[in-house]
């Protein structure tokens, strides 16, 4: 994709070197997607508009997402609006309240009119054809308080990438306003579940973060659980029940090639990639104990990290790879421990009275560890700092389990099971617990694992 920065009406285009940089930043799955950055107008514009951490006075930023011009424009605007509606930090305004129909997306909107409906930003854009026939999308973000354009980009790509362009525009706008990285241009692997509970059929599946573009990666004959995305490749690690002991496999979701991870003398489970994507860390069950191991994917060398009679599982690396958080019942009940990447000096960090903690996952920002907490018959999802302080429960109920982090560290997805003969569904919530949204899946869904940003 080619990205060009769209200058505000009175600015000029950016230099070529900047263009090149933008192009290099796009990578990921879709080649042939080019973009260029249309640079912000006023140098005086604020660097960010929202302190996402602000406490009880927090108010989401109202934004008017107008229909982009062109035949495909409204569809793109719809995807963007839906993204913002789940972002917690941005609040898309009802189109019915809009004071004007934007006929020229390149002209500044009537700031005084938009101020009347308390819009803080107006997003305009158009979708058309580039001279070479590819899809060309432009957006401009206008600050209503100044009437100035504060961001603008143009993307040229294959029409099949339309949804991705909507997510990339969403990320650009989200970043511009919040000063945080985006997360919309990302995917989630999960387990699609169907059939009665005693014989649940489970399929390895992948979708966009908004629930669109579901693709099934396994057929449902084989029991599969706990998929985890590689941060650096198209690989997914997961546990599958085949012949012999259940074990951890890696599947390349592009080629369909799959292989067992190591040749361990027992059940391996609970895999996760290291932040550089070079290692898989997992549990090995032997006798009545489960311990942590890593396997280097290049050398195939395996390393034992813990050697206890306990259940050590759900390991997750810190983003710099220097530490591991995991759960263990070595002290009697499931609790969260942090240890060095070599497995030494494990220190318990979870201490709430009468609670059991499990499935810890380190945030990609490094600032929090998300977990499942069982207390008083409820299963909640929460976060705490890596030293165990600042615990905050985001949601609690009959059964919430298995958080996974958005690539920007501001949201978690998890699954919620009503129990009985029903089945789990996937939800997302922001890390501050301000908003929660169902992620639409056709059937039951569990074990979500968020992948990296694609662009």
């Amino acid at each position: 994709m080619r990205i060009i920065t769209i200058p505000s009406p009175r600015d000029h285009l950016m230099s070529d070197s900047k263009l090149l940089l933008s192009r290099r930043q796009m990578g990921g799955l879709f080649t042939g997607l080019a973009a260029s950055s249309l640079l912000p107008g006023s140098a005086m514009a604020q660097s960010k508009y929202l302190d996402i951490r602000r406490g009880t006075n927090f108010q989401p930023i109202p934004i008017a997402v107008t229909n982009f011009a062109g035949e495909q424009g409204p569809a793109l605007s719809g995807i963007i609006t839906n993204n913002f509606a789940r972002s917690v930090f941005l609040q898309p305004l009802e189109p019915r309240s809009f004071p004007e129909q934007v006929s020229n997306p390149d002209a500044p909107p009537r700031a005084d009119a938009w101020r009347m409906i308390n819009a803080q930003f107006v997003l305009t854009g158009r979708v058309g054809r580039a001279p070479d026939g590819r899809m060309q999308t432009q957006f401009r973000l206008w600050d209503v308080s100044t009437g100035q354009q504060v961001s603008g980009q143009q993307y040229v790509t294959d029409p099949n990438n339309a949804r991705r362009v909507a997510h990339i525009v969403s990320d650009a706008v989200f970043s511009r306003i919040t000063g945080e990285k985006g997360f919309f241009d990302s995917r989630v692997v999960f387990i699609d579940e169907s059939g009665p509970k005693e014989r649940r059929s489970k399929r390895l599946s992948i979708m966009d973060q908004d629930g669109a573009n579901v693709r099934y990666l396994s057929g449902g004959d084989e029991l599969v659980v706990t998929p985890r995305f590689s941060p650096s490749s198209q690989d997914v690690a997961y546990m599958a029940f085949g012949k012999g002991d259940p074990r951890v496999f890696i599947l390349n979701i592009e080629t369909g090639q799959r292989e067992a991870v190591g040749n361990f003398p027992g059940m391996t489970f609970s895999p996760r990639f290291s932040p550089d994507g070079q290692k898989v860390i997992m549990s090995l069950s032997q006798g009545s104990s489960s311990n942590l191991f890593t396997m280097d994917l290049r050398s195939r060398a395996t390393t034992r990290l813990t050697d206890t009679a306990a259940i050590d599982t759900s390991p997750s690396f810190s983003p710099d790879g220097s530490q591991i958080v995991f759960e263990s019942d070595r002290g009697g009940t499931q609790q969260i421990y942090v240890t060095s990447a070599g497995g030494s000096g494990a220190k318990r960090i979870s201490y709430s009275e009468g609670a059991r903690y499990s499935t810890p996952v380190w945030s990609p920002k490094g600032d929090f560890i998300a977990f499942t907490r069982q207390k008083g018959g409820s299963f909640g999802i929460g976060v705490m700092k890596p030293d165990g302080s600042g615990e905050r429960i985001i949601t609690e109920g009959y059964h919430n389990e298995g958080p996974t982090w958005a690539p920007n560290g501001l949201y978690v997805m998890f699954f919620r099971d009503p129990g009985g003969n029903g089945g789990p569904k996937i939800f997302m919530a922001d890390v501050f617990g301000r908003g929660e949204f169902a992620v639409p899946t056709q059937s039951y869904g569990s074990d979500p694992a968020w992948g990296p940003l694609l662009s």
């Binding site: 259940p246 059940m267 009545s288 759900s314 499935t359 298995g402 009985g420």
Partner: protein
């Protein structure tokens, strides 16, 4: 509280015989080979001595655990004693002990917990003279409940180790 038919049936007759309960079920959950812990092709009535049906109906193929426990209760030990005697008499069977957990735990931990329960049963059988070469274990964690509802009457049925003749994957 909602019960499935099979769950209610199981609950009522559990004290009598799991084997008969299974015979009362309209469908056979093991036909997909997924190892849910049921013998296949069971029917009510007299079982041929030494048959799988004999084992399930007259010996009892499963033991139950307390919540988050891998301790063998006295009832569980009595069942395993009967299993060991029967398995010594009928030495042609290889044995897979399946470990299961209830749904009130997280997935990863429950795999490990199920493995521990299977191991506890296997160790007990081995100590009663069943050669280790005949015994293997597998854990299904919380993936294959037999009883489905939102209370302890179901959870207690699901916290189990099931001795499967011939192995779940053979």
């Amino acid at each position: 509280m909602t019960f499935m038919i099979s769950a209610r049936t199981l609950k009522i007759v559990a004290a009598l015989s799991i084997g008969l309960a299974m015979a009362a079920c309209s469908k056979n959950p093991n036909e997909d080979g997924s190892g849910s812990g049921f013998g296949s092709g069971l029917g009510a009535g007299a079982a041929t001595p030494g048959s799988q049906q004999d084992f399930v109906v007259n010996v009892g193929d499963r033991i139950f655990f307390e919540s988050d426990s891998t301790e063998l209760t006295s009832t569980a030990q009595a069942t395993l004693d009967k299993q060991a005697r029967w398995l010594q008499q009928y030495g042609q069977y290889s044995i897979t002990v399946e470990g299961h957990a209830d749904e009130r735990g997280t997935r990863e931990y429950n795999f490990a917990l199920g493995a521990r329960r299977a191991e506890a049963a296997k160790s007990y059988l081995a100590a009663r003279g069943i050669p280790a070469s005949r015994l293997r274990t597998i854990s299904y964690g919380k993936e294959r409940p037999v009883a489905v509802c939102n209370d302890i009457s179901c959870w207690s049925q699901n916290r189990r180790a099931v001795t499967v003749l011939g192995g779940a994957n053979s």
